[in-house]
Amino acid sequence: MTGKDLLQFIVAGLSSGALYALLALGFTIVYASTGVINFAQGEFYMLGGMLGVLAFDSLGIPLVFAALLAILATTAVGVLFELLAIRPRKDGDPLALIIITVGGSILIQSLTRHAVGGEELATLPSFSPGPSIGIAGVTIVRQSLWIWGITAVAVVGLTLLYRRTRFGKAMRACSIDRDGARLVGIDTARVVTASFALAAALGAIAGVVISPTVPPVFYSGASIGLKGFAAAILGGLGNPVAAVAGGLTLGLLENIASGFISSTFKDGIALVVLLGVLFVRPQGLFGGRSREKV
């Protein structure tokens, strides 16, 4: 094991970590507006990849537009899911909502399986084709640059949205005290819908951007959803920066552990982290003492 190998593990960790981060952002946003974990988050990732490949391969739409279409369509699914399944549950009982998201996840998965079939689809072409980039003996895959870039844009964009826009302020107010927010005239129902739209878009982005390496399939949402959930808990379900930090940390932990101990334990790491954080530091590694969520 050389230093070069260690650097390669770090690159791998940051690249899968960025993917977890996008999922974790989705969990965090929905948690902020509703106070529940959306277990259908992984399905948005799955839909992004599936729809992207279908649009590109079956409809022959150029790559950029296929990717955008997949993200838009998944966002629409997210909005529909909120309007049809979450909003009718007016009292906002967290347990009921969580079970609704679990049901929604199974529904989306089964419908996709029946509509598209049980086998994985083909992969998309690389967003910027060409050989990998070698720096000091460490290989960086071109698609990883896309993943990092998109994650960076997402976290900066969300931070700006929260800090600088009226709508972002409404979302923050909603996360601090929903009843209070409603009393001062904020349309909390609209905030919840918007948070599902954002979460679905982020999930779909992750799904599309990884599909040049990983062939999408109808059941792919579950395992990545668990990783994103672990990352979100690790980050403390707080602000976007913490979610991204949680994702990257999880990715690094996984890859360094599989590099130096054994790859058998790679998935176990996510669960150990999840349980460890829940027991020892329920507010997350990066969650402050403040109760503010978002």
């Binding site: 899968s16 079939g117 049980g118 994985e120 689809l121 992969t123 399939v217 395992s223 058998t264």
Partner: protein
């Protein structure tokens, strides 16, 4: 529970009596069909396996019945979906045995599900023919359980020999953490010394992993001359793509788990040059033109294409073999027989030419095929070709 079973039995008996009564009025040609119960995965992770399996069996049922059935009776196959879940596979098998009183079970699509069904086969003394590739299914021997795919104990030594014959000694191993990969990994680690190769790296990936570079980096550092990949999952595409992206230029070998069109579509150009062992169905000329096996395989392929508009994959072939092994055994029996008689007769199968190979079962071998039924393939320009 006992009461419920009793009620179910009573209902079943009444229904049966009514049907029998109806039959005697219309004559002998309307005798009860022989029932076979099939448990396949039509939803869940293995839905892609269960679907072609069901199609192949349905096609064969129609063919056998159109030819006059067995002993003048029709064959009826009752399908149940196990949703790629072990408990559901067991429940489905129980339902087929108790309520439908099937003479034999086919299934399941997956190894774990097959093992769950096995407990039912044992409890009620009904023969079971599995379409899953896990070694454990027939290696942990049970007199009632048969298996049609090429098991890992058969394929692994064949692949290792082919690696050794190509002049390589140091093998980097990459297996998936699921049932098939784990099973293969165990057999590979056991068979390597005898085959004269050294496993210099032993890496595992999990279903759903999006990045393989850490494992491949370790394989690169280990000095491996070839990568041996044992998986039936979609991650195979990610592995060979990452290998290319890392600029690692070593030959890749694998087993029947990657004999899937989806692997080629997923991996694109990175699949080129990958070598793997499987039965001869992918390129039927491997059977030798003019042989019985060639005739059966090309007939199967053309009828399947005609019925469903697509080529059968290896899973359809495993289902064809499972169904026909049972039917051929039934044909050798007198008109009335019990599941136990059927088991004995399946075990007597000798020289049955199927799609996966020529099956000869014995009291100790319920897989029944041999290394000569295997062949090495190489993927060339996205097509399966016989490797030299």
């Amino acid at each position: 529970m006992r009461v419920r079973v009793g009620v179910a039995a009573f209902v079943a008996a009444s229904v049966l009596a009514a049907t029998v009564g109806g039959c005697s009025a219309t004559g002998d040609s309307q005798k009860d069909a022989y029932k076979i119960g099939a448990v396949v995965s039509l939803s869940g992770t293995y839905a892609g396996l269960g679907d072609p399996e069901k199609k192949a069996i349905e096609m064969e049922v129609a063919r056998v019945n159109a030819d006059g059935g067995v002993n003048g009776r029709d064959i009826e196959v009752i399908f149940l979906d196990d949703a790629t879940d072990e408990a559901q596979a067991q429940g489905a098998a129980e339902q087929l045995v108790l309520e439908d009183e099937v003479l034999s079970l086919i299934g399941a699509s997956g190894t774990g599900q097959s093992m769950a069904m096995r407990t039912v086969a044992q409890e009620y003394d009904v023969p079971q023919v599995s379409m899953a590739g896990g070694t454990v299914i027939t290696q942990e021997f049970d007199p009632l359980v048969f298996q049609t795919p090429w098991s890992n104990t058969l394929v692994v030594p064949y692949v290792l020999k082919s690696i050794r014959d190509a002049g390589f000694e140091k093998v980097g191993l990459m297996t998936d953490g699921g049932g098939y990969g784990k099973d293969g990994r165990g057999v590979i680690l056991n068979s390597a010394p005898a085959a004269g190769v050294a496993i210099v790296a032993d890496e595992v990936f999990n279903p759903g992993d999006t990045d393989m570079t850490t494992q491949l980096t370790k394989i690169r550092s280990s000095g491996a001359e070839v990568l041996l990949m044992w998986t039936a999952g979609r991650e195979a595409s990610t592995v060979v793509k990452s290998l290319d992206q890392l600029g690692m230029d070593i030959p890749v070998y694998g087993g029947p788990g990657i004999a899937r069109k989806e692997f080629i579509e997923g991996a694109g150009a990175s699949a080129d040059g990958v070598r793997f062992a499987a039965g001869k169905i992918l390129v039927p000329s491997a059977y030798g033109e003019g042989t019985d096996a060639f005739g059966i395989a090309t007939d199967f392929v053309s009828r399947y294409e005609e019925s469903y508009g697509q080529s059968p994959d290896i899973f359809a072939g495993h289902a064809y073999d499972a169904f026909n092994l049972i039917v051929e055994a039934m044909k050798r029996l007198p008109e009335e027989f019990s599941p136990a008689d059927l088991r004995d007769e399946i075990e007597k199968t000798s020289g049955f030419v199927g799609v996966g190979g020529t099956f000869t079962f014995s009291e100790t071998d319920h897989n029944g095929i041999a290394a000569q039924d295997l062949v090495m393939y190489e993927i060339v320009n996205g097509e399966w070709k016989l490797a030299e």
